[in-house]
């Protein structure tokens, strides 16, 4: 069965500092990778996704993640964080068969709470 490990449960950081949230998944033939964000008292929202093509994907608010197949990782980075980035971040994986057909269901990591201090 697929598993996802988020290596840090909590990441405190000061405003304008860079941040990296780490995510590793167990190997599979094909995977689709996602980062979701959950702001306080809100539902899960998609931050960015990797389906195919360029291994570096970006979000509209400055986050980026790089798919590294050899290391089975999909780490999330931002060069300069804001107070408003304080939230819980979830890495998720959807597996596919050798032909690339997705099975649909997401397997989530346990989440990383990012706290940005002024």
């Amino acid at each position: 069965a697929q598993s996802v490990t988020q290596l840090d449960s909590q990441v405190p950081v000061f405003e304008e500092a860079p941040v990296e949230l780490r995510c590793n998944y167990s190997s599979s033939v094909s995977v689709y990778l996602f980062w979701y964000v959950q702001y306080p008292n809100q539902g899960l929202q998609l931050l960015l996704k990797y389906l195919s093509g360029s291994t570096l994907v970006e979000s509209i608010n400055g986050f980026e993640a790089e798919f590294n197949k050899s290391q089975t990782s999909f780490h999330l980075r931002k060069p300069s964080v804001h107070i408003s980035d304080t939230a819980e971040y979830f890495c998720a994986v959807s597996t596919a068969n050798a032909g690339g057909t997705s099975y649909g269901k997401l397997t989530f990591g346990q989440g990383t709470i990012l706290t940005v201090h002024p």
Partner: protein
Amino acid sequence: EAGVAQSPRYKIIEKRQSVAFWCNPISGHATLYWYQQILGQGPKLLIQFQNNGVVDDSQLPKDRFSAERLKGVDSTLKIQPAKLEDSAVYLCASTLRSGRVYNEQFFGPGTRLTVL
């Protein structure tokens, strides 16, 4: 476009009681999911529907949990009888499928269940 709707938002019950949650997915989304999110953990899939058929219910505790999507739109998830360890947020999500790939899942606000 309206998002995924869920009700109730909060529910408190005593152990051994029954409870039901309702979900209305985004219009046109044929695929619907129920997830359980226990405090401090990531969401865990309970059941996946494609229209009104079950695709995956391998992690649904079928001795006490049941779910249905009779007309391929709304869905209900029921717990009977509830246990203390069922305290969690129950999330509903929906998505479109484009060819071989499922698009992003859109999540509802969730129902927070507390079992006393």
